[in-house]
Symmetry: C3
Subunit: 143 residues, 3 copies
């Protein structure tokens, strides 16, 4: 069984945001699979997707705080600067964190659910100051 | 063909550990596929999975040594500090390295094997001082 | 439908290189799928694969410039130094960026195409000074 959908996320401010609920809601509307995988592809190059803690929001704050210091926007050797000081760091984060996830799925009572660890959630990393809405390509395969 | 299993890894000390043999042993017990993919999902947010060299253990030492200096545990702007100095760096490494792998599989003489490069092995990154046992969700698909 | 091929890339100099065309050409020669995923596995531990901008080559320059400063080759605590100053950093980049991608595919007019975002391209990160040719294991699944 193969199924593909697009999910559009509303604009978020710069930082990390928990989007598990939005992905699970889209997944729940797809044909149920007893065993399967959901592939999630962010269709952008200045934002990221990663799995990390779904509880304390301070973890998301600290991740962003660390990354901003790791890649400041005004490094003297940066050449790709026309789109602003937040752009080249955003490209670096897109590659360091990645823009895709593949997630275990199993239907319970006929409804698809992510089969992740207790503390795992899906984070959107918005790395632009004004990134706008972001699109995800969702592909479910399974049986 | 779809098959799912859980693999529990015994507790390791902080650092990187080669776990190819344990994953291949679990894979060998699954129904054989001539072409397939094994998805490996670590069900935790303070450890990581990555592919890297399977030979010289110094590579694993150096990776850990580099990362410990990249993200010290006592950064003054960290807010998520209640679980100890090793916790927030562990979350950062989980996102920088990732917690999932998808691996080419092909059966030889009826037994599933990973089809990786000669020097590639699967590393578990244990980023907590006392991380305990770690669980992997294994999903094999193929034909 | 499952299909596997090997793609060999010619030697590139150290840095990031856009290889979308080579991957899409190999994909176009595979049996068409209306919905599917292409898994791309780099079979090496001192190079990387990542999705990032396919337009301005300065983004590739800046990524490489940043990474070279992040992990110099002569860190005093590095033990894995016999293969040269470029080797241990290459292993670090292979894990930070990753060596695998899973990419949405859909056939248009009977020919498989990647279904990525407008600005997304596949980058090969060549992290050795003289890395030689690099091999990719391509696995297409779909219906």
């Amino acid at each position: 069984m193969w199924h593909r959908d697009t999910l559009t996320l509303s604009a978020r401010k710069r930082g990390f945001h928990l989007i598990s609920d939005e992905v699970e809601q889209a997944l729940a509307e797809m044909p149920p699979v007893s065993v399967g995988l959901l592939h999630v592809q962010l269709l952008h190059t200045s934002a990221s997707l990663t799995l990390n803690e779904n509880a304390d929001p301070d973890v998301r704050h600290d991740m962003d705080a660390f990354l901003r210091r790791l890649v400041p926007g005004n490094l003297p050797y940066f050449r790709h600067t026309l789109e602003g000081d937040d752009d080249m760091p955003a490209h670096v984060f897109a590659s360091l964190l990645g823009t895709q996830l593949t997630l275990p799925v199993e239907a319970r009572r006929g409804v698809n659910r992510l089969a992740l660890g207790t503390w795992q959630g899906i984070w959107l990393g918005e790395h632009r100051d004004h990134g706008g809405s972001r699109r995800l390509c969702l592909t479910l395969s399974g049986e």
